[in-house]
Subunit: 278 residues, 4 copies
């Protein structure tokens, strides 16, 4: 008996639920959970089912593909720990939260390594017996620095997700394309407000009464990738931007960990620069 | 072409989604939305689909019942305005919110009448050309008073929901049973905290930092019916219980209107003293 | 015995609390509540006290001014109902919420009139015996239309606040300057995200997971005035922009009424395009 | 130049702000922040000021006491790291959050030791070079076990706060009295709902739509001590109680750390089984 997560997206047409559930039924699979969504604007059908039964993953995938319209995508995924890389700069809170969850066994993930442009967080990471790789950007152009990072990453056979846990450098298109929809970032504002540098300072200057954080997949436009999760907290006039920054950290780490969990559980579809999350 | 909301609950068994979606497919129905949930603890299957097509409601209901296990329930509901009665005492906020939504055409409902044990709110209600019936409880036992209310309600052919929009009297089991799962109440606390009288005073005395409101179906245990919706706001030491009461009103009215909307859209299943809401 | 709200802003210097509280003490005033804030960045001191005692407002104001540094502002305000004008276009929810609060006696305000560029909401407003003035913009330039509105407003002796309860036209600088820091708007987004037209559509297109509303004073940059209050709700992929709009209404009306209440209670200081709120 | 946090509580009478601020003024102290609150019900005055200047703490305390009514309390506290003990059982999330904040330098605290009735978390704690003391309760009566814990704690000269970071044993009155208003607990429910064992199971059984966590000082009634901070998250029918437990952990750790931060910054007054928090 195996358990599978089945992720389907296809152009919508009548009968898709019927067709897919018939495949499950014929193969005597048990449906543990089932979610569907139709984006009427784009005529797009999304379905995520968790099933168990006595069948090979490849066979199940083929059986489903047969009943779907052209250009449909099917992923039949066996739940197992995914391989992730963390990238950080100097701040500890988001990284620390992930390390603790990892240590507690809460994450379906192996942390292959932590990569940073500083050695600041090495002493924390090494406590957990996780490789820490400092690749300084000092004296290097953006491209040169990224070459070194990419080269280091190339040493890992299989990377499912790269988590930017407050990695404060902008990635080039080349990097982003190499790991399309695999790079999860936390931006310390309620996007699309306050794109770019020092959003807490921007928020303070604007006099907002709520601040937030946004986790998103990285694409080639700064802070404009598909949003996975957002959260906010109330502030008032008595908050300096440093106070906002301090309070914001609690939101940032929760939002990033929430996004990572959704990704590790294969709950996210990306399309049209948005996410469908079951 | 008709649109239907199909609500199904049944003992869970393999293939239910397949069987139901096959019925939809055979009748050439278009699925506009689809939600399922299996309560594993109670082995109970819930499904709500919105479909459109060229079929008679009774026929659709029979076709679905045929493929379901014994003791299953199917409701095929054609969306239309439901008939509701509002019951109030003296406070205006929850009633006023519903009246404005009704006036704005936001509610799928006809307000048949507003019933109160005081005439305080008559002048507001009469502005909207809605019957207002004062049935004073002065000098009457609980049962006698309720007799009069029940008698008045009996004059309406069809009552889908009775909304207690801050009706400050306790209903007897006889009343509750006459309108089982049809009476929606707003309780001005975050249930199950602060059951009973003056929950804001109770909350103040306990020194809580958050207060809330709870909408629920009424059953025969005070404030213990199935919960539909809850919401909270933060408070602090500077709030008197009167301040809590004032601030709480905004939560109360939003939570009650939210529950009413869910009921009017046939989104709520009640079982095991809980709700499943799609 | 009179009660006063005392609002002070001044350049900060040592001893201000001492000096002001000494004035209160000498005049044998009772302090009911007291709030101070120093904006260190701008070296600005803010204080709001509620006091009661046997003194004339003008005398109290002069006594306080004497102990403050140059260029300080003091307002000694006797709590009473303020005069407000509501401006609307076609949507009922924000207007209705204010009308019900007014009817319930929750607002320290007289609604002098409701002004609109359409007659859509006249039937609602007239239920409450409040003057409704339709000033159509059809066939008029922005300036011509505003002339007519300003002319109508000029007929009122004393206007404390103008509340834009979903008034969907942009005011010219002339109008804004005529009522500086007296015009309260509700913008249906979490500013500064989604400035301008149809923010729900913008939010939908961006795929956000949270939407919000912002009440603010109006200045001459569209949606960029000092923020008074903000609130948000969570949404997901299943929300169309129409769903966001519907759900957003509940946030809009609460946020606007909250801002209005703060203004009516003289709790807001405006400076540096921000608000200090006690 | 020294900085002090001045905490005052006294029976309220006219002129207290004047009198205290006059002391500050005479000693040429600069007020960095200032908060007051009068509990009218109990006629109680609370004030917290942060001041800096050239004065001895004892002298400042005496000068303030002189101007206050009888039975007043004054604390003049020089900000410095407080000494804390963490007590845990087996769960890692709340402990881990505090350890990471400590490591990041976010906490004004020295963690003297972590005490547990199990050795489960020793490997985590020892990574941070913090003493971990397992005092098993196996085969011991409650009192005997506590004797051993108290004996261990007696070895520390100065304990400012004991933080129960999911310590799943009930303390006896003797323990609680030994550390009155110094023991901070996190209860995994929105108190006063779901007091006692397995609140998530209780919440699940009740069918609530919101769950929460509460940090509070420990007194001799289980989960009934003065509340410091509360937070909630929304849940729905699809949450098993295990899901609630998992999601609740994120709230628990944030609420506990928030309470600890408030305590370390001397922002909490306790009276009448409530807290005043500035």
């Amino acid at each position: 008996m195996s358990q599978y997560r089945v992720l389907i997206d296809a152009n919508d047409e009548k009968g898709l639920v019927h067709k897919v559930s018939t495949v499950f039924y014929k193969h005597d699979l048990n449906i543990l959970s089932n979610n569907e969504f139709v984006d009427k604007e784009n005529n797009k059908f999304f379905m995520r089912s968790v099933v168990d039964g006595d069948i090979d993953a490849g066979e199940l995938e083929r059986s489903i593909l047969e009943v779907l319209p052209k250009h449909a995508n099917v992923d039949v995924i066996e739940p197992k720990k995914k391989n992730i890389i963390l990238m950080v700069t100097k701040e500890m809170h988001a990284l620390g939260d992930i390390l603790i969850r990892h240590e507690a066994g809460e994450l379906e993930a192996n942390i292959l390594a932590v990569v940073s442009n500083y050695d600041t967080l090495e002493s924390l990471v090494s406590k957990f017996n996780i490789p820490y790789k400092t690749i300084s950007h000092e004296g290097l152009g953006r491209s040169e620095h990224e070459d070194k990072v990419l080269e280091y990453l190339a040493g890992f056979k299989d990377i499912d997700y790269i988590v930017l846990a407050k990695y404060m450098r902008i990635l080039t298109p080349r990097f982003v394309e190499a790991y399309e929809n695999k790079i999860i970032n936390i931006h310390h504002s309620f996007l699309p407000a306050f794109i770019g540098a020092n959003p807490y300072k921007q928020a303070y200057d604007r006099g907002v009464k709520i601040i937030g954080a946004t986790s998103h997949f990285v694409n080639n436009n700064l802070d404009e990738g598909p949003i996975i999760s957002q959260e906010v907290i109330h502030v008032n006039h008595a908050y300096s931007w440093r106070d906002m920054q301090r309070s914001g950290k609690d939101v940032e780490k929760v939002v990033l960990s929430r996004a990572l969990k959704l990704a590790l559980e294969d709950r996210i579809f990306v399309y049209a620069n948005k996410t469908v999350i079951f």
